[in-house]
Symmetry: C2
Subunit: 391 residues, 2 copies
């Protein structure tokens, strides 16, 4: 069965996470993704832990690609890249501006070879402005975007995953796909770009809205919500659960199920505003009742009553949960070095053209010859490029 | 100038955040987004703070849409929806399954009216499986996806923005755009879906990779990185900065700039692994040196030396930063009730077909008549629908 992006050719010279995750999303939809790695390989390949010698982190972000080695620091290596780009639809890089200059590869160069190409740059801070030349990492972006300042209890807290990279990947993919759609009409490619910083700023949501609306500086949120209550993390007999009683109906039902109907008329709790103002007192009352049963029991009881309630899972619990498995969020495939590997499933379910695993993550240099033969390189040329250590 | 999604018609019956943010992303690219709200309005309109009577949170997620009131609980209201859907490209909803059943509107119904329609459902946990019928909120998804278990210091911590909603929006947009591209070839629409839970699981990144690779349960990350050091938050003379010396070159330069060259040969610190093992001791040494200057001074000095380093901004600092402003991440427009409003800029820069503000967020019921006239409804019909309180 054909997939949504079958026939779309992607040249990916990006490394680490934001670029590779974006091209994996394209590959998951059937695009023909060619991952080009320098002679030392994607830096991510060096990141422990390893499964059969392959980095688990590399595996995470590189399925559905074929991989090739190419030394872009040589003139002949660049020629190979330009040959690959000739009939490509998308080119994606996350080079820093100085790298781009020293390689002599940028949009102005590549568009001459293929004016229909959609060229996407992902960076820490964007291609212009005072921070453009600075090295960008997820940690820096999380701090600079304000995300750390609203996360945590008493000190600014980094989200425990590289959320800046992931969100930049998603915005890059959005831009690339919009440019592809536009190209159907105009016949023209274009340059697009996004960054970790801009992506994270864009998802500040309620915190930015609150600041724009009041000019008050949003503070660290802890595990409660600034506008709703009860909405947060609560202690039970054997652990913690999340409860999100985001509307009046849920609140009334919660009072019934916890046998605290007297609060319904209590002026300290009878409106959402009052409950938010007195949320600490309310938490005390709720936790006193919640102490009577286990988290698992409350999750059943409250959800059966229509109240949003859920567990706080560790990572192993996530991938052992019946619902998560039902949703096929854990997949297995076979990797030539690592053997049987697990990976995260597809978050978007396409009914008619589903995502699938066409390729496990490539071992270094796995498809170099195959890819070059597809663009017409003969054995002699390939041997010559190998001898010169271009490929 | 035409935009990337000019001519694409989107019918949006979603509310609150995940759905509306997705359709805003389509609107930012020029799509014709029609936001349909029930007679009581999108629940988000009730969320404080208010600017000139309009919710700041509603404003955040609803630019580049025209808005109409429509009572879908009536047969005639549904007829209006079906008329709107006839020539639409995309339909997006975030109804819970029981709501869908009681309204009698789902993909099987709508595809009969328009087989080319791309129909997207966004939910808390997905359309099938044991959790499908349960109410989903960002807080619940953050807990269940394992994100809270790796964020924070001593207790699981919620990210201080509705990151589950935003990521679901981005995945939904990715699915919708892929389906549009596929439709160019097949001529067929399809049903696609994503959820807050599945989106968040998909961005677990290093934490999931580590678990798959080792079966060890990832712990709370605090502000340090599990695989790199120095990489985290460090105290200076007047506050905190983030430093991400993610490679050997940055480490050597950092030793030079902080005048701690003796560490380069020290077996406690001379490899990345050693530094990760001794990161607390290393932090102590670094903070002793960093105490000599202010955050702003170190940010300049370290970045000039090629070391990734940045501020930990509060939300007001984000929107006053010179670089953020240079990147046009703060925009202004005029809203008919709220007057001059600020909003977050466009994270993706499209060179040839840039994003722009075509419409400020609609006031309730603003474009109902205009939209119905576009699909051929005459004044008489519109007056009749109003009289019956359908619109």
């Amino acid at each position: 069965m054909s997939q949504a992006l079958s026939g779309i050719k992607v040249i990916d010279v990006a490394s680490v996470l934001a670029g590779p995750y974006a091209t994996m999303l394209l590959g998951d939809m059937g695009a023909n993704v060619i991952k080009i790695e320098p002679p030392i390989g994607d830096m991510m390949r060096k990141s422990p832990p390893f499964i059969g010698g392959e980095s688990a982190y590399y595996i995470y972000a590189n399925r559905n690609k074929r991989g090739m080695r190419l030394n872009l620091k040589t003139a002949e290596g660049k020629e190979v890249l330009f040959d690959l780009v000739k009939d490509a639809d998308i080119f994606i890089e996350n080079w820093k501006p100085p790298t781009k200059r020293s390689l002599g590869i940028d949009y102005s160069v590549v568009q001459k070879i293929n004016p229909k190409l959609i060229y996407c740059s992902i960076s820490g801070f964007g291609q212009s402005g005072p921070w453009a030349e600075r090295p960008g990492f997820d940690q820096i972006a999380q701090g600079m975007a304000g995300l750390m300042s609203v996360t945590g209890f008493t000190e600014p807290t980094r989200v425990g995953v590289a959320i800046g990279d992931s969100i930049a990947s998603l915005f890059a993919t959005y831009g690339i796909l919009c440019a592809l759609i536009e190209r159907e009409k105009s016949g023209k490619g274009q340059f697009i770009e996004t960054s970790l910083l801009e992506g994270l700023i864009s998802v500040l949501g309620f915190q930015a809205a609150k600041y724009f609306g009041t000019k008050e500086i949003p503070s660290m949120q802890g595990n409660d919500h600034a506008a709703f209550s009860p909405y947060g993390t609560y202690k039970t007999k054997d652990g913690h659960i999340n409860i999100a009683a985001g509307n009046e109906k849920m609140w009334l039902k919660l009072c019934e199920l916890l046998e605290i109907n007297e609060l319904i008329q209590d002026s300290m709790f009878n409106t959402m505003e009052a409950r938010v103002s007195n949320k600490d007192k309310l938490k005390e009352i709720l936790e006193c009742k919640l102490a009577k049963r286990t988290s698992a029991e409350w999750i059943e009881i409250l959800n059966n009553g229509g109240i949003a309630c859920g567990p706080i899972y560790s990572i192993d619990e996530v991938f052992n949960d019946e619902h998560v498995l039902h949703r096929k969020m854990l997949l297995e495939t076979t990797h030539s070095l690592a053997g049987k590997i697990e990976m995260i499933g597809f978050p978007v379910k396409m009914k008619r053209t589903p995502c699938k695993i066409n390729y496990p993550p490539p071992v270094f240099n796995e498809h170099t010859e195959e890819i070059l033969k597809e663009i017409g390189y003969n054995d002699e040329k390939i041997v010559d490029l190998k001898r010169k250590e271009i490929i």
